[in-house]
């Protein structure tokens, strides 16, 4: 029997330990009539998150050479599935990029868990929140540490699903439910890019491992550019870049701790992490990088305009985050990947603090009063243009309307199809009554 090294154990714990809490809580919910206590929920979930953090730190130690020679590169756990010549290995990746996201996501998740215990005390959704937090932590660690696109996609999907449920957390109101649906729909359709990219990578390079991207330079330009654009599409959806920015302000319907973790710190940056992870593909696709720069700068401008007219704290923070995320995307497009990673981590910590403090900030602003508004700059030099910009920003440049207009014909066609289907079932039915 193969003995796992400390680094292998650490990495496995980083991913699997957060599932301990959801597993215990899930079994409790399914098999017992009484809801689990807050102590049980918080205790099990936090224990898992702390274990994951320790695991990530052990892996960091392995990378730095604290347990012998430094470990770096793919960490294999053998084949997960083998069908004739097709092998799907259980493969993780340990390098500075992966461990950076793993450690900082683990630490932030633990902090948010501690914050939320007080913030959500006696909230009816306490159990749900912490169960989803555990799932989210596993998803994030999968994204951070995956050694190939398939495992990465699994984590990516878990983040998307938990994000949708967090947005719809206050589900007695209609608006959060609608917002969660919108965010989830955006995620899923943008995720198609990553999924197609995974299949295409396997077909073009013979493997979906990240290591296979070393060969991407041998591909014709059309193929590598297509691949890069598919990844960029997914990243744009996950990081709310134009034209997918509409779901982000709606995502603020969720509880503040989840907003902080998802849309201030981790989830919103996952798209950028994807681009850093598949950087070899972008490196040989200048067209895709150019598009990334344009989209990033466009999003930054859009968000900077909207943030100036937002009247709620979380919405303003969300757009401020978006502006920075746009800039990081542009940095990646320019090829400044080290700067982008540094910017990403620092920005994540800053926004997490700001989001968590947002409720207090409102309190503080009430206590301290508002600063007087003095018009200047564009409002003085070109008041008409300033007014138009103001109106456009108020409507968030009508992004949602544009997206709705694009989807409307599809839904209309679907309705017509459904009518045709109902007619076909009616004429072929031998049953009495309406239920068929």
């Amino acid at each position: 029997m193969t003995v796992l090294s400390p680094v292998q154990i650490g990495l496995a714990l980083t991913i699997l330990a957060p599932l301990f809490g959801p597993g215990v809580v899930g079994a409790h919910v399914l098999l017992r009539r009484r809801a689990p206590s807050e102590t049980l929920v918080w205790g099990t979930v936090t224990a898992g998150l702390l274990t994951a953090t320790i695991g990530a730190l052990v892996a960091l130690g392995g990378l730095l050479g604290l347990f012998g020679p430094g470990v770096r590169g793919p960490i294999s756990y053998g084949d997960w599935l083998r069908l004739h010549d097709m092998r799907i290995p259980a493969l993780l990746q340990l390098d500075p990029l992966s461990i950076t996201l793993a450690v900082f996501a683990a630490v932030l998740t633990v902090l948010v868990a501690r914050f939320s215990r007080t913030y959500l005390h006696r909230d009816p959704g306490f159990t749900r929140f912490f169960t989803l937090l555990g799932l989210f932590a596993t998803g994030t660690q999968l994204v951070a540490l995956a050694g190939g696109l398939e495992l990465f996609f699994a984590g990516w999907e878990i983040i998307g699903v938990s994000s949708a449920f967090f947005i719809g957390y206050f589900n007695e109101r209609a608006e959060p439910v609608r917002s969660s649906l919108r965010a989830f729909a955006t995620y899923r359709f943008a995720d198609a890019g990553l999924l197609i990219g995974t299949v295409v990578t396997f077909e073009l390079l013979g493997s979906a491992r990240f290591a296979a991207f070393d060969q991407v330079g041998t591909l014709p330009a059309v193929q590598s550019t297509t691949l890069a654009l598919l990844f960029l599409l997914s990243a744009m959806g996950k990081s709310a870049q134009l034209p997918f920015s509409g779901w982000l302000p709606r995502a603020m319907e969720g509880p503040t701790p989840s907003s902080a973790l998802f849309y201030g710190a981790v989830s919103i940056h996952a798209g950028l992490f994807l681009l850093l992870r598949v950087w070899p593909v972008l490196a040989v696709a200048p067209v895709a990088r150019g598009i990334a720069v344009v989209v990033g700068l466009g999003t930054a401008l859009y968000a900077a305009a909207v943030v100036r007219v937002h009247t709620d704290a979380k919405g303003a923070l969300a757009h401020a985050t978006l502006a920075q995320v746009g800039l990081i995307l542009a940095e990646i497009g320019m090829g400044w990947t080290t700067l982008a990673l540094t910017h990403l981590v620092c920005h994540a910590f800053l926004r997490l603090g700001q989001f968590l403090k947002a409720p207090n900030m409102i309190h503080d602003s009430h206590r301290l009063g508002h600063a007087a508004h003095h018009p200047g700059g564009l409002a003085v030099r070109a008041p008409a243009l300033a007014d138009r910009l103001y109106a456009a920003a108020l409507h968030r440049w009508r992004l949602d309307d544009v997206m709705d207009a694009m989807i409307a014909p599809v839904l209309a066609a679907a309705t017509r199809l459904a009518r045709g289907d109902a007619w076909w079932r009616r004429v072929t039915s031998l049953d009495r009554g309406t239920r068929s």
């Binding site: 193969t2 899930g26 919910v29 399914l30 098999l31 009539r33 053998g78 084949d79 997960w80 599935l81 083998r82 069908l83 004739h84 010549d85 097709m86 998803g139 398939e150 699994a154 984590g155 999907e157 878990i158 699903v161 949708a164 589900n171 007695e172 209609a174 439910v177 969660s180 649906l181 989830f184 729909a185 899923r188 359709f189 995720d191 198609a192 197609i196 299949v199 295409v200 077909e203 073009l204 390079l205 013979g206 493997s207 296979a212 060969q215 591909l219 193929q223 066609a413 679907a414 309705t415 459904a418 289907d421 076909w424 079932r425 072929t428 039915s429 031998l430 049953d431 239920r435 068929s436």
Partner: protein, 677 residues
Amino acid sequence: MIPTSPLGAPWEVLLVVALLLATPLAVLAPRWPREAGGAGTMRHAGGAWLWVLGLLVVQSIALLTDHPVLAFTVVAMGTIGHAVMAWPSSRTGAVMLLLASALTAATAAALMAQATTLALACSCLAIALRMGVAPLHPGVAALCARAPVVQIQQLASLIVLVFLHLRFLDHLPMAQTIAPWLVRGGALVTILAAVMSLVGRDLASFYRGATTMHAGMALAAIGTASIGNFGAALLVTVTMALALGGLGLMVLALETRAGPVTFQHPGGRVGAFPTLALLFALFGGAGVGLPGMAGFVADDLLLHTLWMESPASTVTVILASACLAVATLTAFSATFLGPRITSRAPDLTIPERLAASTLLIVLLLLGVVPGVLLTPADEFLTPAPPGMTVMAPIGPDGDGMSGRAQLTAHTATPMMPVMPATFIVADTDRSAGPCVRHQPGTLWNYTGTIGTTRVRLTLVFRGDSVAGVYSRGDDLQDRTLRGTLSAGHLLRLEERTGTGAGTGTGTPTGRFDADFPERDPGPTYGDSPLTCDVIAGRHQPLDRSGQPIGAPATVYLTTEGSTSGSLAHRYGAIGVRDDAVVHRGAATFWRAVQRNDRPTVAAQLRYPITILVQGRPRRFQTATAFLAAYDAVMTAAFRETILSAIPRHMFVRDQGVMLGSGAVWFGRTGQVIALSP
């Protein structure tokens, strides 16, 4: 270590089927109203259990027997049982099941009559009917709405039908022919059903849409199975049955408590039925490839294989899956979220939770360790290695090959022409006598040895006059031949350097004194009487002046069929103007294989190319992808096969130029268009 299972695939499938058959009854049957259909029509629970037991016996026989006729017959009988159960609740569903039963019985009858194409067609139709593939879905739609228990149970026995189809029918060449249709048709059904489910207005329409969408996916999976995706196709079907079965149970449980659910207003039922809501979400997630569940693995495997068949269908299925995921969350939100309502009906009882949890655990198990089912299923269902499928014999004039050559072939992929992989010299149509061949437009090919050197030789007969050309494996140089055939068997040929049509130009380099013997002096034909099949004799090297040098070498050559054309231009059948183009490409490839020069080998292939790798077709889009799998394709045995052939004066037919008994095929530009390891 890869987790697998000590059980064989049939037993594992039987376990899943038993679970799906029993789950509805184990918990809910005695309390179900008549409207629930199926078991609710039973007078007492004992009858329902007996019914399940009977169904299980039928499915066991079908899964465990090696006799396809018996297997399909008992499945047809089981389907009649489903129809009888469905009749009181839904005549549409019952008639659909009866039709499916008739088609399954027809499959058995066709198999008995060895009408395999008809059997395949009947089986496909029966599966499509029972899955609910649009536009054949009204029956399944009616079952979903009126007899959900029967629908869940018929999903269970549908797994058995698909298993039989994969085991007995999907290996047929016709299955590969119809695979593109199944894949594209399945993909179209998935997107139509998924888009329709987006605008559903009640829970029933969502469930119906999900069922139809999954039916499309399963159909596409069955299509890809015929090109080597057997285990994955079974996993897709099992996942479909488990996820839809669980979802159906939850819909049924909710509607028996709260009545028909519409999406007109927010449902707000999560407070009243929290466990039901949780399980609904999990089964719904399992159906749309939630990571950790079997659906994720099934989708992943399906998409990889779909891409080989049709990239457009792959994208379609991915978009359909996204649509269904959104529809699932919409249905969940509309059913359970919103202002809380109170209900006097209880949440799921403990036995109900246990039953649903069991299904969920199987989905999780297959998601985390899919090898438990996939590995034994794939080994059980994957057909024998290439070369075993016997195609119709090819006549002497049909394609220019010898009447004594019978072709056995294995298709690399349905998108490619059928490439002969192995020639087997048959014992039929052989009569003793002189070698009489007066066919100036026909090239007769021989391979064998001169001394220890492998050679390839082509002759053209014009009465007693013979011309030809041959190449040696050690230098791949052409030598022209000219001589006579006397007494119907004595062959005397002069050999000269250079290429040409046997005009005799160039320097003399050797002489053949050989014979067409009536009995094989070598090991090829045994005691069978021969005519022009073997050339045996001696080869004497000559110097520039025509004087013998060195000792003569033994010649032993056997026939390898014929092609039409001329010595100067033999590859016209595939549109080649200059044979040298093909010869250059072939020689480059052959020498690269000899040196194990991987980049050059990869560069000589025309992409995309589909290659049977260890019995499974894999499509390579680029040289990089091919190089990643180089060792799996270019095995030592395969390289040996290639190197034992000589890349000159090769056999040609309309599909390409063949090297090494079908191991390699070249196109008109000299690139490799097919490899058959």
